[in-house]
């Protein structure tokens, strides 16, 4: 075989390998590339000579690469062969092999693929060493870590300063490994740099987002990006996507976000991701009806999209739309039985049917399919609570917050579980964590208030209930009555009277509830103590709603007042 034939054959093999890879025939592609890389190379002089005569023989994919001399071109030609081979190894999930084949290659692409393969390979090994997600030694345990990370970090750090800092992809990888190495500040910084260089790397945005532990932290970076990426329209669009997602993830909602969404929707009207963000924001804001409509629309426009449908099933669950949930479960099963989302939907379906064991089974299935399916951990915790298995519930919630500490439901669940076990100090801590994530949710404050009450810290408790009252959209009679009774324990009769009155007056604004009846009863009792028999009689005889105790006491009080009045 002469040199020309060599180049001709190797090019043919590679071209077809690339085509096969595009067609997802990975094994065939791998075979061809292995053949290319195992060919007997002619001497370097011969190759250079042929190159000079027929440079068209050395065409390769990376158009952006412009070699300065022929030798470099030849080097690049052979390296491209190796990169393509490594890529097919990667596609075939042979990560170590992919890294191995690229040893000694210098281009940034080769370095990236090599290091990324090492990263994924290490992650896979870590997963294998732990007993899987449901085992005792789950991978969140610090004991098991990605053993390739120090090597990757070292190799990235030994790269030329310019080579690393001018390449957004290498920076992104560097950021990822730093985050994995629990070096979050530096990691975030590196990811920021990478995104400034190339804001179109959505994976990088997501990595950065996952590193944030609080909304304030996210806001700091958002501002930084604003300063760095104001220059061009395209960059701003990417930033807008990030902003919307950050707000959604941290349960934020504002007019600004709505207008951002509107801006993006005008550009990408059919983008399911965007619509899903809208729906999720509505869900976070407890606007279930709107969220349902939005999810319906998403499904109609992109019927086979399973992403976020687990959240949709949560909505249907809360709305108790069991037949629609049942349909959704069937529908999702038809699309793919073995997607974590499908499993969560089915689990929700069973939960609504009070078949909690089956629900747990499906949540476990979801987790086996995707260890990061955090909603499954939380929801499984809920199921254990239903089964009165607090200890298992606590473990599930703990796993959930270990996977993603932004999930207020899991923190809240932990609080609830400890509350059941009468461990109120623990429960207080977890409610506080939940509250810090969702400070505008009155349930959080109510829960904290309740804990303080149990712990005998009445004043703190009153403060929490008052905060809850303040942020609640409608006046909550239960809170009013609660605060009233708490003041009563502090012997502050005047304030108690005020709150009871406020509570009772809500009967006219809203409707009669047990709390308003109680407040009314309290007021009747108060008036009788004051000797205002007619007022007391009026209040007591008016009570017709509430449990038998309330009614009976009210009747006795009315009778007594009547007697006094008659005398």
């Amino acid at each position: 075989m002469d040199v020309k034939q060599y180049f001709h054959l190797s090019s043919m093999l590679r071209q077809n390998a690339v085509l096969l890879e595009e067609l997802s025939f990975y094994q065939g592609s791998k075979w061809l590339l292995e053949a290319v890389n195992s060919m007997q190379q002619p001497s370097k002089e011969d190759q250079l000579m042929v190159m000079r005569e027929a440079p068209h023989l050395l065409k390769f994919a990376d158009e952006s690469f412009s070699p300065s001399n022929e030798e470099e071109l030849l080097l690049a030609y052979h390296e491209t062969n190796k990169i393509t081979l490594a890529k097919t190894y990667f596609d075939c999930k042979e990560y170590d092999r992919a890294a191995h084949v690229l040893k000694g290659c210098n281009s940034w692409k080769a370095t990236f693929i090599k290091l990324y393969s090492m990263y994924i390979g290490g992650d896979k090994r870590k997963e294998e060493e732990s007993d899987g997600i449901l085992g005792q030694n789950n991978s969140n345990n610090n004991f098991y870590c990605n053993k390739n990370i120090p090597v990757i970090v070292k190799e990235l750090e030994t790269l030329e300063h310019h080579k690393l800092n001018s390449n957004s992809h290498l920076l992104c990888l560097y950021g990822i490994v730093l985050l994995e190495n629990k070096n979050s500040t530096e990691g975030q910084e590196v990811l920021f740099k990478s995104l400034v260089l190339n804001p179109f790397n959505w994976s990088c945005w997501l990595e950065l987002l996952s590193s944030f532990t609080s909304f304030s932290e996210a806001t700091v970076y958002l501002n930084k990006f604003y300063k760095a990426l104001q220059t061009s329209f395209e960059y701003r669009i990417m930033l807008l996507f990030f902003k919307v997602t950050v707000n959604q993830v941290f349960f934020q909602s504002s007019e600004e976000i709505n207008s951002d969404l509107a801006t993006l929707s005008a550009i990408f009207p059919c983008f399911s991701y965007l619509n899903a963000q809208k729906a999720l924001i509505a869900y976070n804001m407890l606007d279930y009806n709107n969220a349902e409509v939005l999810f319906d629309q998403i499904l109609l426009s992109d019927p086979l999209r399973l992403d976020d449908l687990d959240t949709y099933s949560n909505i249907l669950y809360v709305m108790e739309k069991d037949s629609k949930l049942s349909f959704l479960a069937q529908f999702a099963s038809k699309i793919d039985k073995f997607r974590p989302e499908t499993c969560c939907i089915v689990a929700n379906y069973y939960s609504l049917k009070f078949e909690h064991e089956k629900a747990i089974m499906y949540y476990k299935r979801a987790l086996t399919l995707n260890k990061n399916c955090l909603s499954a951990w939380t929801l499984m915790g809920h199921e254990f609570v239903e089964l009165k298995n607090s200890h298992a519930a606590i473990e599930s919630y703990r796993r959930a917050v270990d996977t993603n500490n932004k999930d207020f439901r899991a923190w809240y669940g932990l609080g609830q579980a400890y509350e059941v076990l009468d461990m109120h100090l623990y429960s207080l801590y977890y409610y506080q964590r939940a509250c810090s994530l969702k400070p505008l949710d009155k349930r959080m404050w109510q829960a904290i208030g309740n804990c303080y009450e149990k712990l005998g810290e009445t004043k703190e408790s009153i403060k929490c209930y008052q905060k809850a009252l303040k942020i609640s959209t409608v006046v909550d009679t239960q809170l009013l009555y609660k605060i009233g009774t708490l003041y009563e324990t502090l012997n502050d009769v005047k304030t108690t009277y005020n709150y009871m009155k406020l509570c009772f007056e809500e009967e006219y604004n809203q409707e009669v509830t047990e709390d308003t009846s109680r407040a009314k009863l309290w007021l009747a009792r108060y008036e009788s103590q004051q000797g205002n028999w007619s007022f007391s009689y009026k209040l007591a005889s008016d009570i017709s709603y509430g449990n038998s105790n309330i009614i009976e006491e009210a009747r006795a009080l009315a009778r007594e007042a009547r007697l006094k009045l008659d005398r």
Partner: protein, 800 residues
């Protein structure tokens, strides 16, 4: 059943549940809610019971259906109610139609309420409310409640548990199948839209989504309706839900068929089985058992072994049904049927140990019976098998325990064993008859079930073979016809063949040779389908053929036949047959003139039999002795030793009432006597022969009759010769001799015993010379010539 032109896309195999069971559950819940009209309750309950108790159908000859349609259920209901009305004179027949209509519409209405998969969940939940734990909860309830341990309660409970264990996709498949089940019916389903109006927006959304994706989800939508239109567009693909319980019963029946009839697996069952194979987890233990039986039948050891292991591996996980010792029993059977006796013994011994540990007496009894039966034909193994107790101990244990357990069939078998053991040991007639009578009595007094018939047939076989040995042929014939009738009733081919073999033997020895071979050839086709039967059958046929050939003096061919038989002897589990073949081997040598060889063969055979108690076989011991004496006298002329052997043998035969052997021995003895000193002994011989002759005729054994006739004529001729001519009443004596000689000739002709025929004619010739009858001489000379010619021909038989 499903029509097979439809594509079955999926098979769902559930432990107890199948789509049609929902209808039955509906019927039960209607019954519990006391909604059914009173007169219709008994027939409906009988239908429910019929469906619930599937084991009952295993012995039923009616066609089994694992997938009954709703229409067939409704038809059954109508039929049952009508029948009930017709049989019950107190009921007004006019109300019958009304009742049928009421029941039908109640059932259909209830089925129609199950419109969505959620309704199905609800229905199952409601059905659960019919169940209570304790019977006292049943009282004081407005509706009938079922305890979980009751007949119906257990059924309902199983269905509910089976449903609860379904995972999500299985529920979906089940629902689809259930809808198909409803749509298959001729019923017009009412369209009911009892869902709230607000759900209709959801319905529109769902319909759009289904349209977009093309998923067939119409059974899962918020509002569903069964309409004619849906029936029309019903796809040709189907989902089958089959209850494991039903299919197991079906397979049990198949197994029963395979074991008893040897019929091929029906194609419909094969189709279902093939479908099952498609299921990843649809492993049906019985399926492997069927495979095992098929391999067994086809003599495929490896395949049978694999299938059996598979069967029990799966059965082990199903603790309800399988125990280790049953597995071992089957394994033992497998090994035994392929001749791996040691492995079989190892398996059965362990099975016995396990059964003892588990205190499973029923199984233990069966195992011990099996062991005895197995070892009966393998004396070598019995002696080596140190772990097992002696035969007597086992038998004693069996007789006691089977009685305690009221296991009558095995109880009877243990007496049969006792009888056959006594027969082997040469025990007295009385004790044997006692045991046989006991065995029969136990069998006759129990409720006869299908499986007991086999025991009965075996009992008949024992009796007939015993009567044959003792020489009461009419009784043997009676038992043959009884056993054959029993076999025909049950199509028990295996036993039928073994009885027919005995019949052929009987006919052969009676001298009806052609009839005997006709029987054998008539069943040849049936026999060749089953290898294990084929071996025995073939050897038995060869034995008769050999007997015939030896009689005809086709000695060279006989030698070849014998060597074939000897080669196959190891594969046969029948000591009697082995003894018989070896007997003919020695006889063949003797007929060839190799007397030394013959004697050494017989004496080694005798030694073999007396090696241990378990080797001993009284009948053949006597038979060998007789042969030994016969050869010995011809080879050595040492008459005194011969005499003592003969007398000993005759005494043995006499003590165990083996009349044919007594007669045979006596004839040999008499022959010896008149050969030794004709003049001295003929008087005694004549006295004895006159006594023996009627016995011979009664025994109906051709050879004995012929021998007696010939011997008598010979003795009479000696008497004639020794008399002073003047005292002779020649004519009368001549006639008598000729009469006896004729008997001999007739019977020798029947059994084609050419050498003896030659002797007869030689005697005739001598007689004619002595008396000077020219005609007689001519006839004798002519006959001798013919026979000699034939003998030459026969000797050349098979050789060109």
């Amino acid at each position: 059943m499903v029509e097979h032109n439809e594509t079955v896309s999926k098979v769902l195999l559930l432990p107890a549940l199948s789509t049609s069971k929902i209808s039955v559950l509906c019927l039960i819940s209607l019954f519990c809610s006391k909604k059914l009209p009173k007169p219709s309750i008994p027939p409906l309950l009988s239908i429910i019971v019929h469906v619930v108790d599937t084991s009952d159908t295993a012995h039923d000859d009616s066609t089994l259906s694992i997938l009954p349609t709703l229409d067939s259920l409704l038809d059954d209901i109508g039929e049952a109610i009508t029948q009930h009305y017709q049989l019950n004179p107190n009921l007004d027949l006019l109300l019958c139609a009304k009742d049928i209509k009421t029941v039908t519409s109640l059932l259909l209405d209830l089925l129609a309420t199950i419109q969505t998969v959620d309704d199905l969940h609800q229905f199952m939940k409601d059905s659960k409310n019919l169940l209570v734990e304790k019977s006292r909860d049943v009282q004081n309830s407005p509706i009938k409640l079922l305890t979980t341990t009751s007949f119906l309660g257990k059924f309902v409970h199983n269905l509910i548990v089976s449903f609860e264990y379904l995972d999500f996709s299985q529920v979906s498949d089940f629902w689809v199948s259930f809808q198909e089940y409803k749509l298959d019916s001729k019923q017009k389903w009412k369209t009911k839209t009892n869902h709230k109006a607000e759900d209709n927006a959801d319905f529109v959304f769902q319909e759009k989504l289904v349209e977009l994706t093309g998923f067939s989800l119409d059974g899962f939508m918020t509002v569903t309706s069964f309409t004619e239109e849906r029936r029309q567009k019903k796809s040709s693909e189907r989902t089958l839900v089959i209850s494991q319980l039903d299919i197991s019963n079906l397979l049990d029946r198949q197994i029963h068929l395979l074991e008893a009839y040897g019929t091929p697996t029906p194609s419909s069952l094969r189709k279902v089985l093939t479908l099952m194979a498609k299921l990843e987890n649809g492993t049906l233990p019985s399926m492997y058992y069927v495979q095992y039986l098929e391999h067994l039948k086809g003599n495929e050891y490896q395949g049978a072994f694999d299938s059996l292991h598979r069967y029990f591996d799966y059965m082990m996980s199903n603790k309800q049904q399988a125990f280790y010792h049953y597995a071992l029993l089957s394994l033992a059977t497998l090994h035994a049927s392929f001749g791996s006796d040691k492995e079989a013994l190892r398996a059965i011994n362990e099975a016995i140990l396990v059964a003892r540990e588990n205190k499973d007496l029923n199984c233990l009894n069966y195992l011990l019976t099996w062991l005895l039966n197995f070892l009966k034909d393998k004396p070598d193994l019995f002696d080596k098998d140190v772990t097992s107790s002696s035969k007597d101990q086992i038998l004693h244990f069996l007789k006691l325990k089977t009685k305690e357990n009221k296991n009558h069939s095995l109880h009877s078998i243990s007496y049969q064993f006792q009888a056959s053991k006594t027969i082997l040991e040469g025990g007295p007639l009385q004790s044997i008859l006692e045991d046989i009578t006991r065995a029969s009595y136990i069998l006759m007094n129990l409720d006869f079930k299908g499986e007991d018939l086999t025991t009965f047939v075996r009992n008949c076989q024992l009796q007939l073979s015993y009567w044959m040995r003792v020489g009461v042929i009419p009784l043997a014939e009676v038992y043959i016809s009884i056993a054959l009738d029993a076999c025909n009733a049950k199509h028990n081919v295996f036993d039928e063949l073994s009885i027919l073999m005995r019949k052929a033997y009987l006919l052969f020895f009676k001298g009806e040779v052609e009839e005997a071979f006709k029987i054998l050839s008539s069943k040849q086709h049936q026999v060749s389908q089953d290898s294990s039967v084929f071996r025995t059958w073939n050897l038995r046929t060869m034995v008769l053929k050999l007997n015939l050939w030896l009689n005809k003096s086709r000695l060279r061919c006989s030698g070849i036949l014998l060597s074939t038989m000897l080669a196959h002897l190891d594969t046969v589990n029948d000591t009697e047959l082995k003894c018989e073949v070896l007997y003919y081997d020695a006889l063949h040598q003797h007929l060839l003139g190799n007397n030394t060889e013959a004697i050494s063969k017989v004496s080694s055979l005798l030694q073999e039999l007396t090696k241990t108690n378990s080797h001993f076989n009284n009948y053949w011991f006597i038979k060998y002795k007789l042969l030994y004496a016969d050869i010995f006298v011809k080879a050595t002329n040492s008459s005194s030793r011969c005499m003592s052997i003969l007398l000993n043998a005759i005494q043995l035969a006499h003590s165990s009432s083996l009349i044919p052997l007594v007669v045979e021995g006596s004839l040999i003895l008499l022959n010896l006597l008149i050969t030794l000193d004709p003049k001295e002994n003929y008087d005694d011989a004549l006295i004895l022969l006159y006594q023996l002759k009627p016995i011979c005729l009664r025994l109906e054994i051709a050879e004995l009759t012929a021998n007696a006739g010939f011997l008598l004529s010979q003795t009479l001729f000696i008497k004639l010769k020794t008399q002073v001519p003047s005292l002779r009443d020649t004519k009368q004596e001549l006639n008598e001799i000729l009469n006896e000689l004729e008997t001999g000739i007739i019977y020798y002709r029947k059994i084609n015993k050419l050498q003896m025929l030659l002797k007869c004619f030689e005697l005739e010739k001598e007689l004619s010379l002595e008396t000077g009858h020219a005609d007689l001489l001519a006839h004798a000379t002519d006959s001798i010539q013919k026979i000699k010619h034939r003998l030459r021909e026969e000797n050349q038989y098979g050789f060109v």
